[in-house]
């Protein structure tokens, strides 16, 4: 059954990839939707039939002496939850794409890449060892690369794709370093064995390994300082942003750390690194999101900020809380991205929110679902976003008060940017030129399902399912709920009627993302490129010069000897005299 879970998307990928130009569009749709659906159904089947944690082993990948790596899959509660999320949202996104990508002539390829992504993402969450997990980890990066650069005739899309791929690979350096260390120290990379053996080991090395994983998570989950690829990744088709850059792939970093939680418990240092990186990223991205004008960029920075919250929860040691937020975030952020896709589709590819407004009446279903998404994101009780964020806030409160204040700041920022988005797009009057129209039925089904999930997702018993539930006082929860209601409603009425596009120093600083992209370029990219040219012009030529120097020394010696041999009588005679006198002197001295 589990191999079918991989074979099905693989099979679909191969068919769609090679026959995308040959087959009729409707057949392509049928194949991709059926495969998406069946993958989901298999997952549901596994979800209900596999009771305990089970390892499935297929065959050996490679071995180094005693050390061997298998194609083996480990199914437990965490893996099952992730599987449901991936295939479920994957299926909805494929359904949405049927309408969204309708006019694209590389439709088959697009569906093939989505299936490839689902395949690798399943590999990532199911593999029982870190090396196979790395294969999935890189694989999702690859599919993300292919999908960001899907419209490859535009250079900026391609650049964004390359940036995403390479920045992810910076994070991968950390991953591979840790895996290498694990192989050296433990002699195994099977996750459960590693976690079992880690208990007695020197915490010094554990800290090293966990820090490597932190770097990997920073790259994949777009945290400081490696977050800049995610906003650029919005160059891809919008359903892709919903699936890959909001719901699933970017949460792989959170998954990795939650999976290795036993290692992290031993290493307090790595935990505090996580905590502060998460806080900083979340606040920074929150501020940037407030000033963005592109609807997808707002959502992208919001994703960075929410991922920061999950990382904070990980840093606080509340792994199940982080995963709870991962799930609810997947629901409402996928909903928001798909809603944004519906808006963009309805406005004929306009993404600038200053050209929108008043769409509530023109696109009612999109509006109501987006409303649910935005309220959930902003943490309006009892929607799913509130339920999970509430837990993170309470964890922060029990850790320290400054952290709690930072978290409050983050949730206020979240309310501001989400209500600004809602107000400027749907409230007020229409400012654009294109004629908006409501989207079709394939758009609504995913939107409505995700909206329902965003409303009730908070009541899923995810924490107890994963085996650990934290209990907090009801009083503080209620207090936080009231606070959330007040901020969200305040922001809602603030932005609903009048849209704010002020140009001040601060807002332009936020809009330009603190110039971090430019700083990175000056600091890291340019020096390497300059060194590359410099070394070709000078170091390589210098090496040539040394070789030529040796050659010219030999040449001059040769010239000297040639001079003697030219047959000039005077030279010969003087050499003769010189030689004879030399011999005489030598004899006399003897």
């Amino acid at each position: 059954m589990i191999s079918l879970l991989f074979l099905l998307p693989l099979f679909g990928f191969i068919i769609l990839f090679f026959l995308s130009q040959k087959l009729h569009r409707q057949i392509l749709t049928l194949i991709s939707i059926l495969i998406g659906l069946f993958t989901f159904l298999i997952t549901v089947f596994l979800f209900f039939t596999v009771k305990n944690s089970i390892t499935f082993t297929l065959f050996e990948w490679f071995n180094i002496g005693q050390f061997s790596v298998h194609f083996a899959f480990y199914v437990d509660a965490l893996a099952k939850m992730m599987m449901m999320l991936i295939t479920g949202i994957g299926f909805l996104v494929m359904l949405f794409s049927v309408g969204y990508m309708q006019k694209d002539n590389r439709y088959g390829r697009y569906m093939a890449y989505i299936l490839l992504f689902i395949l690798f993402m399943l590999l990532l969450v199911l593999s029982n060892n870190y090396i196979l997990m790395f294969a999935g980890w890189e694989g999702v990066g690859l599919s993300s690369y292919l999908l960001i650069g899907f419209w490859f005739d535009k250079r900026e899309n391609v650049e964004a794709a390359k940036k995403a791929f390479l920045m992810n690979r910076i994070g991968d350096i950390g991953f591979l370093l840790s895996v290498t260390l694990l192989a050296c120290l433990f002699g195994t990379t099977v996750i459960q064995d590693v976690l079992f053996k880690s208990i007695g080991l020197d915490p010094y090395w554990i800290t090293f390994i966990t820090l490597g994983f932190v770097v990997a998570a920073i790259g994949k989950s777009a945290q400081l300082p490696l977050y800049t690829w995610l906003p650029d990744a919005m160059a891809g088709p919008t359903p892709v942003s919903a699936l890959i850059h909001a719901a699933t792939m970017v949460t792989a970093g959170v998954y990795l750390i939650a999976r290795s939680s036993t290692l992290f418990i031993v290493s307090p240092f790595a935990n505090s690194v996580l905590l502060y990186i998460g806080l900083l990223t979340s606040i920074l991205a929150g501020f940037i999101a407030i000033a963005q004008k592109d609807i997808k960029k707002i959502l992208a920075f919001s994703t960075v900020s929410q991922l920061g919250l999950m990382v904070v929860a990980l840093g606080l040691g509340a792994y199940t809380v982080a995963l709870f937020h991962l799930v609810t975030h997947a629901f409402f952020k996928a909903l928001l991205f798909l809603g944004a896709g519906s808006v963009i589709h309805g406005l004929h590819n306009i993404q600038d929110i200053s050209e929108m407004g008043g769409l509530a009446k023109k696109m009612p279903i999109t509006f109501w679902t987006m409303l649910i998404g935005c309220f959930s994101l902003a943490g309006f009780p009892p929607l799913s976003g509130f339920m999970s964020k509430d837990h993170i806030l309470l964890q922060g409160l029990s850790y320290s008060f400054p952290v709690f204040l930072c978290l409050i700041l983050i949730s206020v920022l979240t309310s501001v940017y989400s209500m600004r988005l809602l107000g400027t797009v749907f409230g007020g009057s229409y400012r654009g030129k294109a004629v908006p129209h409501e989207s079709g039925i394939t758009f609504f089904i995913p939107l409505i399902i995700l909206a329902i999930a965003s409303i009730f997702g908070g009541f899923l018993p995810i924490q107890s399912y994963l085996g650990h539930e934290a209990h907090h006082s009801l009083f503080t929860s209620v207090l936080l709920g009231v606070f959330s209601i007040c901020t969200v409603l305040f922001c809602f009425f603030l932005f609903w009627r009048k849209s704010v596009f002020q140009d001040s120093f601060l807002s332009s600083l936020f809009y330009r993302q603190f110039y971090i992209n430019q700083i990175y370029h000056r600091l890291f990219v340019s020096p390497i490129l300059i060194f590359s040219i410099f070394s070709y012009r000078f170091i390589e030529k210098g090496l040539d010069f040394i070789l030529l120097g040796c050659a010219s020394i030999i040449l001059s010696i040769a010239n000297g000897i040639a001079y003697i041999q030219r047959g000039k009588l005077s030279v010969a005679l003087s050499l003769l005299v010189l030689g004879v006198s030399f011999i005489l002197i030598w004899v006399i001295l003897q």
Binding site: F62, G139, F152, L166, I173, S535
Partner: protein, 465 residues
């Protein structure tokens, strides 16, 4: 097994002497390489010897070790791919290529110091003639002469070392490697051999700072010559490490091992960064190849089991990715256009762009493609020396990935420039074979690893104690 030596030689003599058309000689070459691929599985006798100079006890001694089995197979497959992937060339070109292949095969099997040196020198000469055969540009001649000087210089140093070692063996010497391995020189004497042997192998591999012959030679050679040099002959240096360097002077090497390993990795990184801004694709591939070879050499010199096995696996992957990428270049050069004028090839050339992307993935060690497992093993081998080496190697691998992606995106992505490259049947076959090889080695690397496992364990036991 002597067929691996004789058949290529006889075939090249045949090609030199009998005037046949280039098309027929291409077909004959293809059939011979197919024959060689299958011969290995049918006629695998472990060793072969006949007397050469009985007075000295000297024999033509050839032995088939697991290591050479792997590489004989790889050399035959890559020969097949090389000939198949290019349009017909003159019979002399094929003759020279097979001469080189014969010498390479001979080197892999030579169990005798004199034979080893003979083939070591012989393998390079055909590439030199191929390079000089163009005679068209004055600049190319300079490149050819530089290539020759470097090669001969390295060769003489190798001869010097081999002579020193053989003198040690006199008067009982039959110049066999097995006798050489029993010498077990004291570490001080090994140290003395380190410099000439190191420079000789450093030129052949090449390693920084002895690499200056490489980029220009790759760029100036005809494409078959570049494939031969980059794909096959660059493995000679690695074989030299395995055959001579590690068994004979590893003890001396360990005194400076961490320093030299750092130097090699840094040199590889330097090459990777250099490749970033190369506009000539063959130069770019040359520098990238140098950076990969440096990593492999470092893996072998780490003196660990994973490092050595990783070297074998990564070099098998490197053979195919390099030849594959050069094949792509040759396809692009079939039309008389500047590569800088091409963009958006993916619009019209789906097959070509797909295969080249996979080749690039193999080259940047993407998991489940051929490069990954080998690189991971080498990283592990390096980590047992110093974790910093692993970190540096990973960082420089990133540079290599950047460089290749930059090239790929410039050509295959972007607005459509309207170029269409018509592929023939053999192109589709070659492309499909590359896909099978790259994914096959990536998913089933055990096929290679299991073969060389025993011999690497013996090597480690022998040289480390």
């Amino acid at each position: 097994m002597i067929f691996f030596l004789l058949l290529p030689f006889l075939f090249s003599i045949f090609l030199f002497s009998v005037p046949i058309s280039s098309k027929i000689s291409r077909y004959l070459s293809i059939s011979l390489s197919v024959l060689l691929i299958f011969l290995l599985n049918i006629l695998a006798t472990p060793s072969f010897s006949f007397p050469w100079e009985p007075g000295l006890g000297l024999n033509f001694q050839f032995t088939m070790t697991p290591f050479s089995t792997v590489f004989l197979q790889l050399s035959s497959i890559s020969m097949f791919l090389m000939v198949l992937s290019l349009f017909p060339q003159s019979r002399f070109v094929y003759g020279l290529t097979f001469l080189s292949l014969g010498a390479f095969n001979g080197l892999l099997m030579a169990e005798n110091v004199l034979l080893f040196y003979l083939f070591w020198e012989m393998a390079i000469i055909p590439s030199f003639i191929l390079l000089m055969g163009k005679f068209s540009y004055e600049a190319d001649k300079k490149v050819g002469i530089r290539f020759l000087i470097y090669s001969i210089g390295g060769g003489f140093l190798m001869l010097f070392v081999l002579m020193l070692l053989s003198l040690k063996l006199l008067p009982y010497s039959n110049f066999d490697f097995s006798a050489l391995y029993h010498l077990s020189l004291p570490a001080k004497e090994q140290l003395f051999l380190l410099l000439p042997l190191g420079i000789s192998l450093g030129i052949k591999l090449p390693l920084f700072p002895f690499h200056r012959w490489q980029a220009e030679t790759y760029a100036a050679s005809p494409i078959l010559g570049t494939m031969l040099l980059a794909g096959l002959l660059s493995k000679m240096g690695l074989y030299g490490l395995y055959k001579i360097f590690i068994p004979i002077c590893y003890q001396g090497f360990t005194i400076y091992s961490s320093l030299i390993l750092f130097f090699i990795i840094l040199g590889g990184g330097y090459a990777a960064i250099l490749s970033l801004q190369q506009s000539d694709i063959k130069k770019k591939l040359a520098y990238l190849s140098m950076s990969h070879i440096s990593v492999m050499a470092a893996g072998a010199l780490s003196g660990t089991f994973p490092g050595l096995q990783g070297m074998v696996l990564m070099s098998s992957s490197h053979i195919f990715t390099t030849i594959g990428l050069l094949w792509i270049v040759s396809v692009l050069k079939r039309q008389d256009v500047e590569l800088s004028a091409i963009s958006g090839l993916m619009h019209r050339n789906g097959f070509l762009s797909g295969v080249s992307f996979l080749l690039i993935l193999g080259s940047i060690a993407f998991p489940l493609t051929s490069g990954f497992v080998g690189e991971f093993m080498i990283l592990w081998g390096l980590a047992s020396n110093s974790i910093l080496l692993t970190l540096l190697a990973l960082f420089f691998a990133l540079m290599g990935a950047w460089s290749l992606l930059k090239w790929y995106q410039a050509l295959f992505f972007g607005p459509d420039s309207g170029h269409q490259f018509n592929l023939v049947f053999s192109d589709y076959l070659v492309g499909a074979l590359f896909v099978v090889l790259i994914i096959g080695i990536g998913v089933f690397p055990n096929v290679i690893l299991d073969t060389t496992k025993s011999v690497m364990l013996v090597l480690i036991k022998g040289s480390m104690t």
